[in-house]
Amino acid sequence: MKPPVIFQIGWNACINCGACVAVCPQEAGFISDFDTIAVNRPCDIACMVCEDICPVSTITHYIESAFDNSNFGAFSPKFYNHDN
């Protein structure tokens, strides 16, 4: 099983096209207010097709376990692009 991931969207490049949502197998409602996949909660499917479809490659992710709530000061998540 893949570890859950949290997505980050580079809003400057995003054209709000919704393609990432169209390929996403998550249940209803896993979306942001800008017609992208959700960015405020982890995705436990982690199939990464949302990153692949993005016409401007503006979706990155980090693995949820890299986020340590208890030690927020030391937190420095590494963002990945699916191509990395």
């Binding site: 197998p25 409602g29 692949d52 993005c54």
Partner: protein, 391 residues
């Protein structure tokens, strides 16, 4: 507060939703049409090419309000730049052209103005339209009705309806509410980017460039955009390339056989989106719910065109809803299946057939052979002597 009651609540006022709503209202139904946007059609995610026949068969009169440019035919290119020009002004000069008594084959429309015009037509037919209204969910209730939750300017509203229509486009959530599997496979969604540009000449033709080199899994296009502007774009299947659509578009503009033609181009707008080159959904209905347009994947799998199919699907859905609701038939899953049967009969079976053609082409491993098949299929498709009935 008394819960407002409608026969039909349509979610999404694109071509599919606005047409479904208008036709249903013309049948005498009480209809609510809601869209989460403040300005329909914006940001634009469409090149706007639609046939005259497609508009007219849905009762939409071409108008200066939304037509950017008239279209008279096609130019289909292979990867090396060889072309098949299908100019209907030459095939049928008495029928197609600019003069008296002649007509265009189709149009490039401004989707902002087009979608607003379709919404206005629905409104004038008696539909209650609400913008800035996002649909959040639905729940079937006893006695053949359902409850739909809407968010309007941050205020949550509940309405009752007999049927909720999901016309919420590519990123549709409505089907998922009912547990339908709506996501599109990565191998079947073209990732698209286009630029509206100045200083690229066009001649009333939709130009389509095939070839794995320029657009793996899809094709590139140059469309006239009115006022001397043009649109250069492409769609790619991401499993067939390591580059994204933007990188491919850059290569196409700078390196293709059109590079001289594009050399002075200036970008005026950047648009994009996903185009399902997929089969229609196998199940487009549930209790008190049906899907239409992109939400049901009613898109031509060869061309990626979805305006005509959205309009036609809207007409079919609107008439069907009128007939069952006026007859007092309960809109449960079993009875709503007849909508899909009707749709398959009128256009869906043809789309399944085109999907078979598309699958056959892209299952071909040899790139040269595949490129050749795509070029020939596209040239045949747009020919006036095509064996494919245009959809």
């Amino acid at each position: 507060m008394v819960t407002p009651k409608y026969d039909v609540v349509v979610i999404g006022s694109g071509p599919a939703g606005a047409t479904t709503a208008r036709i249903a209202a013309e049948q005498g139904l009480l209809v609510l049409l809601c869209d989460k946007k403040q300005e329909l059609g914006a940001p634009i995610q469409c090149s706007g090419a639609v046939s005259r026949h497609g508009l007219e068969s849905a009762g939409v009169v071409p108008s200066d309000e939304f037509v950017l440019e008239a279209i008279y035919g096609f130019g289909v290119y292979n990867g090396a730049g060889e072309s098949t020009i299908l100019d209907y002004r030459q095939f049928k000069p008495d029928e197609y052209g600019e003069g008296e008594g002649r007509k265009p084959l189709g149009y490039v429309v401004d989707r902002r103005r087009f979608d607003r015009c379709l919404m206005t037509m629905a409104e004038r037919a008696g539909v209650n339209v609400m913008l800035k209204t996002e649909a959040l969910g639905y729940q079937p209730l006893p006695y053949g009705i359902c409850e739909v939750r809407l968010l309007h300017f941050n205020e949550e509203i509940k309405v009752h309806a007999r049927v909720v229509v999901g016309a919420d486009g590519l990123q549709s959530q409505v089907g998922k509410w009912a547990g339908l599997r709506t996501q599109i496979k990565l191998t079947e969604l073209a990732s698209c980017l286009q630029f509206v540009v100045d200083k690229v000449e066009t001649s009333g033709l939709l130009e389509i460039v095939t070839g794995h080199r320029w657009a793996p899994g899809g094709y590139a296009w140059v469309f006239p955009k009115g006022h001397g502007y043009a649109e250069i774009g492409l769609g790619v299947i991401r499993t067939m390339t390591a580059m994204n659509a933007r990188q491919h578009l850059d290569v196409f503009i700078k390196q293709s056989f059109f590079r001289e033609r594009f050399s002075d181009s200036r970008i005026l707008e950047i648009q994009g989106g996903g185009v399902p080159l997929a089969a229609p959904l196998k199940t487009q209905y549930a209790d008190n719910l049906l899907l239409v347009g992109d939400a049901a994947r009613h898109v031509n799998p060869i061309t990626g065109g979805g305006i005509h199919t959205a309009l036609s699907g809207g007409v079919i859905a609107g008439i069907f809803l009128g007939s069952i609701i006026k007859a007092g038939i309960e809109p449960n899953k079993m009875n709503l299946k007849k909508y899909q049967d009707l749709w398959l009969e009128e256009m869906g079976n043809k789309m399944w057939q085109l999907y078979g053609v598309k699958k056959h082409i892209f299952a071909t491993k040899d790139i040269v052979q595949r490129d050749d098949m795509l070029y020939r299929t596209m040239s045949d498709y747009f020919s006036p002597y095509s064996e494919y009935k245009k959809i």
